[in-house]
């Protein structure tokens, strides 16, 4: 077990923004909640997955709904407690610990804040190793683990326990209830035992998050290039160095979809990169070559500070380095690629691992 203080949380928030690959919601409010929790309850307990007993009940916590609602009507802190209590009563078993469903964006930070309020430790594991937009896009789904029974709770004291036939129905019913409950709720979801979490979850992901943030912070202090340091740590690849020259956005079926065009600088002078996103960055190509594609991670880092830039933060003139990071091997299985590969998001491209693309580059047909 490790204890997390304020500096660790600050670092993790930076790593969460990077693993959010442009989307996932701003970790900022989650970070503030975690910092307040530390002030009130002391350091947050972080467990390695090996410290979790095989038969222990573990449950993911986080938020569902519109992040813009949450930044105005911030959580009370009681929602998660109510959700966890309800789930415990229903399952007839005490919950041992909580864990984040995704390592990117706001939901990576919330379990850290909620854990101390719940009096529970957080497990260093998640279900994505990054951020994705839909509830079934988790390694647990690949392994046949159900999101139900799940609970959503609001600050007023309303609690909904859902038992759905599959995860698509969970998404549909919970979404409708969320709007009635005020647009932003806390959830307790994907309950499972320690053994399943060990097999299905992505390990040491919070440690990686923290490492990314710390690396960027220390690079600034020591005057070294933060991006090169991040690439070493994440085993990632520099895809493109350039300047944003055009952004095209449209809102489609509730998602912010769009394309950003970068003009090359330095080694990439004369080339153009197209980055397509749907909340998260999904595919990076030049005119001739595929550079990186989902489920591998694509992050845009500020050329100077090394800090990640979100899709909303992309503006004309931003100078950035686009990097690619290999996703967890579970996403590279046939079912993984079917669930969140390029085809699922509507791109007619074969998935090729980023490390292969970085070596030779695949010509676009």
């Amino acid at each position: 077990m490790r204890l997390l203080g304020k500096q660790e949380i600050e670092d993790m928030a930076v790593g969460a923004a990077l693993l959010g690959t442009g989307g996932g919601g701003d970790p900022y409010i989650g970070k503030l909640m975690a910092l307040q929790t530390i002030e009130e309850f002391g350091p947050i307990r972080l467990l390695s997955i090996d410290e979790v007993p095989e038969d222990a009940l573990v449950v993911s916590s986080g938020m569902m709904g519109a992040p813009t609602v949450m930044v105005e009507k911030a959580p009370s802190g009681q929602e998660a407690k109510a959700a966890f209590k309800t789930l415990e009563a229903y399952m007839g078993k005490e919950i041992f610990a909580t864990y984040p469903i995704e390592a990117g964006g706001v939901n990576s930070m919330l379990p850290l804040a909620l854990a101390a309020q719940l009096g529970l430790p957080v497990i260093d594991v998640d279900g994505m190793g990054r951020a994705f937009p839909e509830l079934q896009m988790v390694t647990f789904y690949l392994d046949g683990i159900s999101a139900s029974p799940m609970v959503i709770a609001d600050e007023k004291g309303n609690v909904n326990l859902l038992n759905t036939i599959d995860n698509v129905w969970a998404e549909r019913i919970a979404r409708a209830a969320t709007i009635q409950m005020g647009g932003s709720v806390m959830f307790a979801i994907y309950p499972m035992n320690g053994r399943n979490l060990k097999e299905s979850g992505i390990r040491n992901i919070l440690q990686l998050e923290e490492g990314i943030g710390r690396t960027i912070r220390l690079a600034k202090e020591q005057n070294v290039n933060p991006i090169q340091e991040v690439l070493k740590l994440t085993k990632g690849f520099e895809l493109f160095n350039g300047k944003v020259v055009d952004i095209h956005r449209k809102t489609e079926t509730g998602f912010a979809r769009g394309t950003a065009t970068f003009e090359g600088l330095g080694n990439n002078k004369g080339e153009k990169l197209q980055l397509r996103f749907q909340n998260e960055h999904l595919i990076a190509t030049t005119e001739q070559r595929l550079l990186c594609v989902t489920p591998d991670l694509i992050a845009v880092l500020d050329e100077e500070t090394g800090l990640p830039i979100t899709t909303e933060g992309l503006r004309y003139g931003a100078r950035a380095v686009v990097i690619g990071i290999p996703c967890h091997p579970k996403w590279r299985t046939p079912k993984g690629i079917e669930t969140c590969g390029p085809g699922y998001f509507g791109y007619d491209v074969e998935y090729v691992p980023v490390e292969k693309l970085a070596k030779k580059g695949a010509l676009l047909g």
Partner: protein, 525 residues
């Protein structure tokens, strides 16, 4: 003939101008900004009056753009004793007020913090009713303890009902003595950022009061009985009464004044404005005669806020920027500066520090001081340094553009002699007359505005008619504030549909602005 005096306080200089009724510049002056700010203001005022020779009784208006409030926040000095009241429990308890704000500011402002039940949902429903009893208890507890209160309720930009009711209750208990700052009048959606802006506002109410009273008294001592206005950061004016209620709106009015002044001097409504001062170069975007507003949260004194602010990029390059030459032939430019001490520190003025000004003098691009003091510097090196300086500005210009197309660039500020007549990204470079005091001119010619921001249901009237209604309200607000009805124009419209809501609910914001009502100029004091 009636005249107006415009004063703008910058980091290095305090500038003053006197304009006639047709905005013609009668006199201009530059004085060093003083540590207390006020004495610099009074000095520049007396100087410009003396230069102009205008009869004092003919000065009808006095406009002041000042950094008093910003300085108070940054220096943590002269701040009010405040209470922070948030209406939002049981929601929001997981992020208490001032979390994420620097510790020293938090310690100073966080002595009386309350969160009570109330607030609204995103669609205007009550989360829970306002806890009036608790509010009365809190108000009684605060009696004699605080001189200013920051009041924020959840989703008050959608429904201000609980903030208004709470203000009523507090005033019933505490009377009119205690100043109230209501968040819906200051910021937009985003609880913590709006709350921070409201807290900072409450904290500088007395600073604004003292500044206003001091300015009015200084004018009177000079025999001037003018109507006094404060510049706010959207490029329009506010009355003294309003400025004392919402002093936070004076933050960043300086760059805004430069942008507005540049627009007037160059006769352009759409351009980039590059303002080169002694320490920094600020670049802003002029759209339809007003500065583009930032869409991101802006930190003030380390606190994240979300009220409207001009979108600016600032780089560490100005007339006093220090240039350092290394033994190996390399060099660095800034980011530090000799600032207002340029006339004694710069080499061409007989000083001991190589500055950006010395570089342009050495290259013969400006005639200042004694060029022989810099004739020893190697010419190719000078050219390298100059090229790098221009590149710094060109990169910043590029960041502020919204597309790859070249745009007109207006150069203002005393340091603009640093820059050439051709720059990458600029379709033309304009150096208007009086460029050195564009900020004071911007303050003097600022307009009176009116604004409406409300959630409308489009189902009732349809989009067009609803927008027309909102425009009418904004225009009448501007006229009520003292704008000439014949000159009022709509300067900004924003309509944001609110997702999930029945009735096609849309948040509409319209801003109208016009010249000061000429009728006001006739009033004899």
């Amino acid at each position: 003939m009636s005249y107006r005096i415009g004063i703008d306080v910058g980091g290095t200089h305090t500038d003053a101008v006197i304009l006639d009724k047709d905005y013609k510049v009668i006199a201009e002056t530059k004085c060093a900004t003083t540590e207390d700010v006020s004495s610099g203001i009074y000095r520049s005022m007396r100087e410009v009056l003396a230069k102009s020779g205008v009869p004092r009784e003919h000065i009808r208006f006095a406009m002041l753009g000042t950094t008093h409030c910003t300085n108070a926040i940054v220096e943590r000095k002269r701040l009010n004793k405040i209470a922070i009241i948030r209406i939002g429990a049981p929601a929001t308890l997981s992020v208490k007020p001032l979390i994420g704000v620097p510790d020293d500011l938090r310690k100073q402002l966080g002595k009386h913090v309350y969160i009570l039940r109330g607030g609204h949902e995103f669609d205007g429903r009550e989360i829970v009713p306002l806890d009036e009893e608790e509010l009365i208890r809190i108000a009684q507890e605060m009696k004699g303890q605080v001189d200013s209160i920051a009041l924020t309720s959840v989703f008050s930009p959608v429904s201000k009902e609980h903030e208004l009711r709470a203000a009523e209750i507090i005033q019933d208990v505490l009377g009119e003595e205690v100043a109230l700052s209501l968040s819906h009048e200051i910021g937009s959606v985003g609880l913590l950022e709006r709350e921070n802006a409201t807290i900072l506002n409450a904290a500088v109410v007395n600073v604004a009061k003292t500044t206003a009273n001091g300015f009015i008294r200084a004018l009177e001592e000079e025999g001037i009985h003018a109507k006094v206005f404060f510049g706010q950061n959207d490029g329009t004016l506010m009355s003294v009464e309003y400025a004392v209620k919402y002093p936070i709106l004076t933050v960043a009015c300086g760059p805004t004044n430069s942008i507005r002044g540049a627009s007037y001097l160059a006769g352009l409504s759409n351009a980039l404005v590059v303002d080169v001062g002694g320490t920094t170069t600020d670049i802003g975007v002029l759209i339809n005669g007003f500065p583009r507003e930032s869409s991101l949260a802006v930190e003030i004194g380390g606190a994240r806020t979300n009220f409207r602010m001009p979108d600016l990029v600032s780089i560490g390059l100005g007339g006093g920027t220090i240039v350092r030459l290394q033994e190996d032939g390399s060099f660095t430019i800034g980011p530090d500066s000799v600032g207002y001490r340029l006339p004694e520190k710069g080499l061409v003025f007989g000083g001991d520090t190589l500055t950006a000004t010395d570089i342009v003098v050495a290259l013969g691009k400006a005639q200042l001081g004694d060029p022989s003091k810099v004739s020893h510097i190697d010419r190719p090196l000078l050219e390298c340094i100059y090229e790098r300086m221009v590149e710094m500005v060109e990169a910043a210009i590029d960041k502020m553009k919204t597309s790859a197309e070249s745009v007109p660039v207006i150069l203002v500020g005393g340091g603009s002699i640093l820059l050439p007549d051709k720059m990458t990204g600029a379709s033309q470079v304009i150096r208007p007359d009086h460029f050195g005091v564009a900020n004071a001119i911007g303050a003097a010619i600022a307009q009176i505005s009116g604004q409406v921001e409300r959630v409308f249901s489009l189902d009732e009237l349809g989009r067009e008619k609803t927008l027309d209604l909102a425009k009418e309200i904004a225009v009448s607000e501007a006229v009520a504030a003292g704008a000439d009805p014949d000159t009022v124009e709509i300067v900004d419209i924003e309509d944001v549909p609110l997702a999930y809501l029945p009735g096609n609910a849309t948040r509409i914001r319209v801003k109208a602005a016009g010249k000061l009502d000429a009728a006001l100029e006739q009033i004899d004091h």
